[in-house]
């Protein structure tokens, strides 16, 4: 599998990363190298092996339904690029 320049631009757009035209060729080479490395995994025969979602052989830990967090609007908003009173403020997004 190898990526063409259009796919590289699309991936960048989906990830909201600005890529200048001269960078596309370089990224294409780098991404293809990564894909080539991952391709090696296809050499392993995994027929009949259940997909693995984690390396840890343990059960998912669950939490009780108790309120233990929140009530810290100032701390949550502290890193906001922009705010208005108790709200985050962002460039207008409206349909």
């Amino acid at each position: 599998m190898s990526l063409d320049p259009a796919t590289v631009r699309r991936i960048a757009a989906l990830a909201r990363i600005r890529v200048d035209e001269p960078q596309v060729a370089q990224l294409q080479t780098e991404l293809n190298a990564i894909l080539g490395w991952i391709e090696q995994l296809n050499e392993v025969d995994v027929d009949g092996v259940a997909p693995l979602t984690g390396a840890a052989q343990m059960a998912l830990r669950l939490r009780e339904d108790v309120v233990t967090d929140g009530g810290m609007a100032e701390a949550v908003l502290a890193n906001a690029p922009d705010r208005a009173g108790p709200f985050y403020a962002v460039p207008k997004v409206v349909e």
């Binding site: 909201r16 984690g54 830990r61 009780e64 108790v66 922009d82 208005a84 985050y88």
Partner: protein, 482 residues
């Protein structure tokens, strides 16, 4: 009669599937310990997990899983003992992490069904494809500032159940019945409050049209339609639009559209064009969710009686017709109220009073069944006064209105107003004699064969007795005298 859209070139069938997002009733959020309560100060119920801070670990709330399983059981659905959480990647200002934790390939609940009732008395089983757990997004306010949107993350991370139906619905009516039935089941289960105004129940509608017997054509998704009425309108508007496109020789593009209730039409959401590439992958922060069979069985044994079972029981136990039973079981509070009135009494009569006089009084006073001006016990006592012939049916209506007005007990009103039914045959005979004497002309007509006048005489006698005569005794006395 099957619902169709009549186009210029003939009839078109409408195919509808619904995706419902139901907010789970829980104290804390799906993956964080922040509160879920509606209407709190902006951003006051937000943890660092909800705000997408780096390095924060989501920890699954057991009760949210239980609620999803209860709902699955209530929909007669398969419970998947192993399910998994995935990241659904997209960028939006109210989604701080840049992805929503959802369940894609392995939902917690598989195929189920919902039985809907239609106006013509028939019912139909609608397939449920799946139910999965996911995080809600934050809330954007667009009208506070000319150039900016305000974001409140209190809702971000609250647990949602996405409930997807099969494309089994064929009319706006069926879609409306499906939503109402689903809401009723969720409310019985206590897994979602079903409040569409506050957004705890939201629907996306998939609509396509086709000629009868054809395979499915391309569908469009109409987003976020927030009342049963709007869902029904949106389907009709979107189906009509698609028929016009096909008939003009065009093709319907698969796209996301928005319903505009003010204009009664749908329009394309251009911003969503790219959004279908969500690049799902298993969330590396979360292990697979493995449920214990015994735990699921325990949840199952704790389920309440659901609307369909209750309706069947009301029909059998209280002799109610299908329609009455279906109306009474929609809300659990109404069903409980009815049952308290009906127990040990005439079930059909109890249904008539609850659905007739009581519902009318609630409408008029703007109150719900929970704060009804007349309690179930008080209405039952009124029915008892009729059953033991203390008052007749007409007086009972008058007493009921006074009960709504004053909150007094039926017995007290009857005594205070002297409304006790007259069963003294002497008094009834006297009233009959007086009426016949006063209407000699009518009496002659009656005796000449005008039978219909019997009703007139009954009315006159009742009037003379201020409505308090025992109707059966009045009839008897009149027949004798005439």
């Amino acid at each position: 009669m099957a619902y169709v859209i009549e186009g210029a070139t003939g009839a078109w069938e409408v195919v509808i599937g619904l995706e419902v997002h139901a907010q789970v009733i829980s104290r804390a959020k799906l993956f964080s310990g922040a509160a879920t309560e509606f209407g709190a100060e902006p951003n006051s119920q937000v943890s660092f997990v909800d705000a997408g801070f780096p390095g924060m670990l989501p920890v699954l709330n057991r009760e949210c899983v239980a609620q999803a399983v209860r709902t699955g059981l209530g929909l007669d659905a398969q419970i998947n003992l192993v399910s998994r959480f995935d990241r659904k990647n997209y960028f939006y200002a109210d989604l701080p992490a840049g992805y929503q934790i959802s369940q894609y390939a392995h939902p917690v609940v598989g195929a189920g069904r919902i039985e809907i009732e239609l106006a013509d008395g028939t019912s139909k089983a609608i397939g449920v494809t799946r139910l999965h757990l996911e995080q809600d997004a934050g809330k954007s306010l667009h009208d506070q500032h000319p150039a900016k949107s305000m974001i409140d993350l209190n809702r971000a991370g609250v647990a949602l159940m996405e409930i997807v139906s099969e494309p089994d619905l064929r009319s706006p009516e069926e879609a409306g019945a499906y939503l109402r039935k689903l809401r009723s089941i969720l409310r019985y289960l206590g897994t979602c409050d079903g409040n569409m105004e506050e957004g705890s129940l939201r629907a996306d509608v998939n609509v396509s049209v086709r000629r009868h017997g054809e395979p499915f054509r391309t569908r469009c998704e109409v987003k976020n339609v927030n009342s049963v009425r709007f869902v029904m309108h949106a389907i009709e508007a979107e189906a009509t639009r698609q028929v016009a496109v096909w008939e003009a020789g065009g093709t319907v593009d698969q796209e996301t559209r928005l319903y505009d209730p003010a204009r009664g039409e749908t329009r394309s959401m251009r911003s969503k064009e790219d959004a279908h590439d969500y690049r799902y992958f298993p969330d590396p922060d979360l292990l697979p969710l493995v449920l214990d069979e015994a735990w699921v069985a325990g949840l199952k044994s704790g389920l309440p009686e659901l609307p369909d079972a209750k309706r069947a029981r009301f029909m059998g136990e209280y002799g109610l017709p299908f329609y009455d039973a279906a109306v009474l079981v929609v809300e659990q509070a109404t069903a409980d109220f009815y049952e308290a009135v009906a127990r040990g009494r005439d079930g059909k009569q109890a249904a008539n009073w609850v659905m007739g006089d009581l519902f009318a009084a609630l409408n008029r006073t703007g109150r719900g069944i929970a704060d009804s001006p007349v309690s179930a016990a008080a209405l039952g006592a009124l029915l008892d006064l009729m059953a033991d012939a203390t008052i007749n049916g007409r007086i009972a209506k008058e007493v009921f209105e006074a009960m709504v007005e004053t909150g007094e007990a039926a017995e007290a009103i009857v005594t205070r107003k002297g409304l006790r039914q007259v069963t003294d045959t002497g008094a009834i005979d006297a009233a009959v004699a007086a009426v016949l004497a006063a209407h000699g002309d009518k009496l002659a007509e009656y005796r000449a064969g005008k039978d219909k006048l019997f009703g007139f005489f009954v009315g006159q006698v009742m009037k003379a007795m201020a409505g308090k005569g025992n109707p059966a005794l009045v009839n008897e006395a009149l027949k004798r005298a005439l």
